[in-house]
């Protein structure tokens, strides 16, 4: 059995919207294992993004326990959570969220610099972009790149330091199917080659078709957790 990277136990998350309290998660349990290529699916409002935010130490649970790499997030302060995000987690956002004034290479390099990587960060940034087919466009700024290209830069930024866990929120939402498929193949390649773990929140059937594990949420609870047989996966066979 693979190591458990993330353990979510009986977690609730409530939001206050004016006078109304919204129960986004209602006693959710989930374990994420090393090497997972997991899709979290479910209708809007089911709690997918909330779950990713909790696992990514971007938000805190109302009750229950979220443990990431053995660290109970509820006991960690702001600074330690930021440190955890910086050193062990990678994020890919739906809207790319690149720094607009930096080039593709500088965007990747910036996070590496935050992580304390020395002068070699320039080469790491370039080779990561090159691996993702962006070597020729490394010196372009985000506004000079297409949506697919920007998302590949965002992936490069998330994976350049080889974090153990990459969290991607609707990574294909703004991409056409060709770009989306290319991106998923790249990420699965990274999972296979670099022993990284990927968790996606998605509505996209294409993402689901690539996943090795599909977790379905409804009303803030896990309603199904399905392991797929990799050998039956057409995409896997195609690789």
């Amino acid at each position: 059995m693979n190591n458990t990277l993330v353990d979510v136990k009986n977690v609730t998350k409530d939001y206050r919207a004016g006078k109304v309290i919204v129960h986004a998660l209602r006693g959710l349990d989930l374990a994420i294992h090393e090497g997972d290529f997991m899709s979290i699916v479910g209708p809007s409002g089911s709690g997918k993004t909330t779950l990713l935010n909790l696992v990514g130490a971007l938000d805190t649970a109302t009750s229950g326990e979220v443990s990431v790499f053995g660290n109970d997030l509820s006991t960690m302060g702001r600074r330690r959570r930021a440190d955890l995000r910086l050193k062990s987690l990678g994020f890919v956002f739906q809207a790319y969220n690149l720094i607009p004034v930096l080039t593709a290479r500088e965007n990747v390099e910036f996070v590496l610099e935050l992580q304390g990587v020395g002068s070699e960060r320039r080469d790491i940034a370039f080779s990561t972009l090159d691996d993702l087919g962006m070597g020729d466009l490394a010196d372009r700024q985000p506004n000079e790149l297409s949506g697919g290209q920007q998302q590949r830069v965002a992936v490069a930024r998330a994976v350049a330091s080889r974090p153990r866990l990459v969290l991607a929120d609707e990574p294909t939402a703004n991409l056409d199917s060709e770009n989306a498929e290319a991106l998923l193949q790249m990420m699965r390649h990274l999972r296979d080659e670099q022993a990284m773990t990927f968790v996606f929140s998605t509505h996209d059937p294409l993402v689901v078709s690539y996943a090795s594990r599909v977790v379905t949420l409804r009303d803030g609870r896990v309603v199904s957790d399905e392991l797929k047989d990799p050998t039956s996966d057409a995409h896997e066979a195609g690789n």
């Binding site: 440190d83 910086l86 994020f91 607009p100 004034v101 930096l102 910036f110 996070v111 930024r157």
Partner: protein
């Protein structure tokens, strides 16, 4: 320490909204330009003022017999003037020592008389640029019963070179002193009493006329380094020949001018405060707008693990770069403007529509309406430091906003 990437992000962020950046830059540049221009005018005016005070009239230090300044009585004199001057000139900081006699007298060209003041001077000691008769051509026209007449007095009484003038006064014994002199020239002077009433003659002629052998009313001293006035006053006061005399720095002789110079200094800083208050508002507005617009971006950076400290440094660096660029432009414009006008000067009279410049007298000093602006390096430095401090202060609010941001809340904004 600011990293290269922080500098890069900060610099490029300034280009994101060019119109806003240009407006803020303009506000800072105009502020520095206004400050340097006003400071240069005030400095030029102040130097001219100080030159007039410590130049021909008062000098840096004066020596008098005690109580002479009370009513300028002709019989209250300094004795052994030659020996005193010789001893004073021994002081390493003393550049020149000029003995003077002042005596009210009635002067007449033909029949009608008019009031004048006889000023007896040593032509050799007063021929330097800051003396009463600058230049050899003037000092050479004194002695052997020749006198120079103040320009305003000459104009008023229609006195011309070559005329004979009779002078009648009172000598130190109380007797009538009178003699006939030849007008050798007419002199304009920054000293009002010389300009409008003065009849300048050699010290020897004056001593002979008023029966004051080896005596004078005043010794005016110029120093090579005016910053040492206090030390020199202390040394001169201890000389045996001056034990009974009063040795005074110019600041004690004309305390009202010290106040005026301090007021001018204060005025410069009032301008500095007002100008940079406006600049601060410009920078603060720019940085606030820029920060609140980018809340989502900051949320993203926080979610990647970038700390609030790093974000604050980015914002502070942006403000500093904005301030530095603005103050550099303002300094270049200000220094350039002063350089353009420092040669020809600025005539307040002409600015006010007058065809010619004028001179105004105050407390015996004549001031020209023509001022030569001067840039002080210290003023440039004060302006630059003020802008940089203003820039840093103006990001206080944006930084407080940033350090309170939570990644998710910021990204939802």
């Amino acid at each position: 320490m600011v990293s290269r990437s922080t500098l890069r992000i900060a610099w490029r962020n300034l280009g994101r909204n060019r119109k806003r950046t240009i407006l803020a830059l303009s506000a800072i540049a105009v502020g520095q330009l206004a400050f340097l221009s006003v400071a240069a005018l005030m400095r030029g005016f102040g130097e001219q003022y100080l030159d007039s005070i410590t130049g021909p009239m008062v000098g840096h230090i004066q020596i008098h017999a005690p109580r002479w300044r009370d009513d300028r009585s002709i019989d209250v004199t300094l004795r052994h003037v030659s020996a005193t001057i010789a001893e004073v000139l021994q002081d390493p900081d003393v550049e020149r020592a000029s003995p003077r006699i002042y005596a009210p007298a009635l002067a007449a060209l033909e029949v009608e008389g008019f009031m004048s003041v006889v000023v007896g001077i040593d032509p050799a000691a007063e021929s330097h640029p800051r003396g009463l008769v600058p230049g050899e051509h003037l000092s050479g026209q004194l002695g052997e019963h020749r006198v120079l007449v103040g320009a305003a007095l000459a104009q008023k009484q229609t006195i011309e070179p070559g005329m004979e003038i009779a002078i009648v006064g009172q000598d130190v014994d109380g007797s009538i002193a009178n003699d006939l002199f030849t007008v050798s020239g007419v002199i304009p002077s920054a000293i009002d009493i010389v300009h409008s009433q003065g009849i300048v003659m050699s010290l020897e002629d004056a001593q002979e006329l008023f029966l004051m052998p080896d005596q004078a009313h005043e010794i005016v001293i110029h120093l090579s380094n005016p910053d040492r006035i206090g030390d020199v006053v202390a040394r001169l006061s201890s000389l045996p020949l001056l034990r009974d005399a009063e040795v005074l720095p110019w600041q004690e002789i004309l305390p009202q001018f010290v106040s005026i110079l301090k007021l001018m200094e204060g005025y410069i800083f009032v301008v500095l405060f007002i100008v940079f208050l406006a600049a601060a508002a410009g920078i603060a507005n720019t940085m606030l707008m820029s920060t609140f617009e980018r809340t989502h971006e900051f949320g993203m950076l926080l979610s990647l693990g970038c700390g609030p400290g790093r974000l604050s440094r980015i914002i502070a660096t942006e403000a500093l770069l904005l301030g530095l660029a603005g103050v550099s432009i303002g300094t270049a414009l200000g220094v350039g403007l002063v350089a353009l006008t420092s040669g020809s000067g600025i005539d307040y009279a002409a600015l006010g529509g007058s065809a010619s410049s004028y001179e105004a007298a105050f407390a015996g000093i004549t001031m020209s309406s023509h001022t030569f602006p001067k840039t002080y390096v210290s003023d440039v430095a004060v302006g630059v430091i003020a802008v940089l401090l203003t820039s840093l202060l103006s990001v206080t609010w944006p930084v407080l906003h940033i350090v309170r941001l939570e990644p998710m809340e910021a990204m939802r904004s």
